[in-house]
């Protein structure tokens, strides 16, 4: 007999929330580097970022906004710590 769908839903919630939290942590590190770069007022002329700095900063801002969407806050709040996340086979 298969486990109830509530367990499968919880596996998706737990696993997704854990990955989102990891991505948020990574994003926070990227933001610190971005902010440090901008604060330093670096002239990118003659480097790989020449003419691309604004696009990069914009893309990072968009990604940061997406990762911090309130929907993911609700997902993270819905984690059940004692659920081991094994009800879905991947």
């Amino acid at each position: 007999m298969a486990v109830n769908k509530t367990k499968q839903v919880q596996t998706l919630v737990n696993r997704t929330a854990a990955e989102i939290e990891a991505m948020r942590a990574g994003m926070a590190r990227i933001v610190r580097y971005r902010d440090a770069y901008q604060a330093a007022g670096i002239d990118a002329t003659g480097t790989i970022l020449e003419g691309r700095t604004s696009a990069l900063v914009s893309a990072l801002t968009t990604l940061n906004t997406a990762l911090n969407d309130a929907t993911f806050d609700q997902l993270i709040a819905a984690k059940v710590p004692s659920h081991r996340g094994t009800a879905l086979e991947v």
């Binding site: 007999m1 298969a2 486990v3 109830n4 769908k5 509530t6 367990k7 919880q10 596996t11 059940v80 710590p81 004692s82 659920h83 081991r84 094994t86 009800a87």
Partner: protein
């Protein structure tokens, strides 16, 4: 002994875990508990000697449990006996009788509240014919593989088991 009188009681620390798929010992606010997974069937095993005052009227197993975090949903508990007795069971293998079950329609609305559920066994084959003075094992199992009767997410925590004369 009369009907309803207590025969034996066990706490979580008395568990003799099976070799695989076992409930895990844990502490909850210094209460020793056995954590039963919400996805894989897990079991705990308790050993006893049926008291001499068991009158042969059948027994009822009382399962004392709380949910780690769930406040809604259902949980299913199974119990089964293995008679060891005097020359009745080769202990190099397991010989548990068929399980009897209780389907809990709703777990407590507060996760720290302990619920007590009962599972009745008639005297004889249902309790593997354990008689007064005979040693036995009692296996308690949570059954999340029963997707109809076990829907609560997160661990179920067993605190104690009581055996009474039915």
């Amino acid at each position: 002994m009369a009907s309803g009188d207590s025969l034996i009681q066990w706490t979580a620390a008395a568990n003799e875990p099976p070799a695989s798929n076992f409930a895990t010992l844990d502490l909850r606010n210094s209460h020793a508990v056995l954590d039963f997974d919400d996805t894989a069937d897990e079991a705990a095993v308790f050993r006893g000697v049926m008291p001499q005052h068991y009158a042969g009227g059948g027994v009822t197993v009382y399962v004392h449990y709380a949910m780690t975090s769930a406040t809604t949903g259902k949980v299913r508990w199974d119990a089964r006996f293995e008679r060891i007795g005097d020359g009745q069971q080769d202990i190099d293998s397991d010989g548990f009788a068929s399980a009897q079950s209780v389907n809990v329609a709703a777990v407590p609305g507060t996760s720290g509240h302990v619920d007590i559920q009962s599972i009745a066994f008639t005297n004889g084959a249902q309790m593997d014919s354990v008689a007064a003075g005979e040693s036995f094992r009692l296996k308690i199992e949570r059954k999340p593989s029963d997707g109809t009767n076990d829907t609560a997410t997160g661990d179920a925590e067993l605190l104690a088991v009581e055996l009474r004369e039915t």
